[in-house]
Symmetry: C2
Subunit: 200 residues, 2 copies
Amino acid sequence: MIKETARHYRLGYSPLTRSELIQKVASQMSQKRFEHVLRVEEMALILAKRYQCCLEKASIAALTHDYAKERPDDEMVGLIHSGDYPEGLVTYGNAIWHGIVGADIVAKELGITDSDILQAIRLHTTGASDMSLLAKVIYVADYVEMGRDFPVVQEARALALEDLDEAVAFETKQTLLYLTQKEMLIYPKTLETYNHWVVK
Amino acid sequence: MIKETARHYRLGYSPLTRSELIQKVASQMSQKRFEHVLRVEEMALILAKRYQCCLEKASIAALTHDYAKERPDDEMVGLIHSGDYPEGLVTYGNAIWHGIVGADIVAKELGITDSDILQAIRLHTTGASDMSLLAKVIYVADYVEMGRDFPVVQEARALALEDLDEAVAFETKQTLLYLTQKEMLIYPKTLETYNHWVVK
């Protein structure tokens, strides 16, 4: 029922229909990742409805958030060097690039120009101190979509339906703990998100 | 025996004798913190000896590392606003200020001008990607001095005597986990230290 409302785009945020968009997205990734993307859309629509966010924007941002995740590293590095990106971005790997650079790829290849949608794609991995409702919806939907399975996912999912800002905080804290525990590189923007949303 | 070598300063790093320096330091803080400072000196000398760091520098940096820790916030804020400090520093509180601003207070009030000593004071709380041997000695000594009592202190202490770089990494990781778990503000420099020393 919820998905019905976003099945046909009428608001002009995407030059492609939803079916065309889905086909383009599917062509960019493995079956497994594509199924994740569809689950993120499903969750994003649930959250968008719950928090009065535009359903079409939520659908489009969710479907395109991982559009560039399987691009070769050398293509991404080339784009970073030729574009206007934060200093040092090139050292962080595609876990970070695919959102920040991916937003520009989505704009270029899919003709999506809405700045709120592009910013939600840009921030979906790291968050930010300043996040729109849509950016929060995508950030949280990506973390709690129904295929996710990690120790605190049920708590995160319950929180997502209860209080979106608290869900942003919870996800950010857990992500920082996870990355630190695994001794993985942490992008400065993630710390910005933590200092803003987690610290009281 | 170790402490004997640093009891009388002969190398010109401090215009004050060790006794005069100790007296000045003691006047700046509670008895409890002063005892911590003396234990940091003791540990710093152990590490300095173990890793062939200058004992006099280690003694002076250790004795002065918390010199500004009990300054009133308004004095520190005034200094930050009138000095050349990183943008946003003022929001982080004295847990961060007392090292970064403290180094300049030590220079001004105690006449210590050696840049290696001042940098070790500056970095003793946050670390940095680029740390001198002395900066590492002070950073680690402050964490593992014999009065410290927290779950992983014995592991940290053993590591400190085995491999100083590994001790820097261990301390940084534990600190990041602790701050995140407690939902406390994290200074960007701490993340820089983590990304450099902890991530393989």
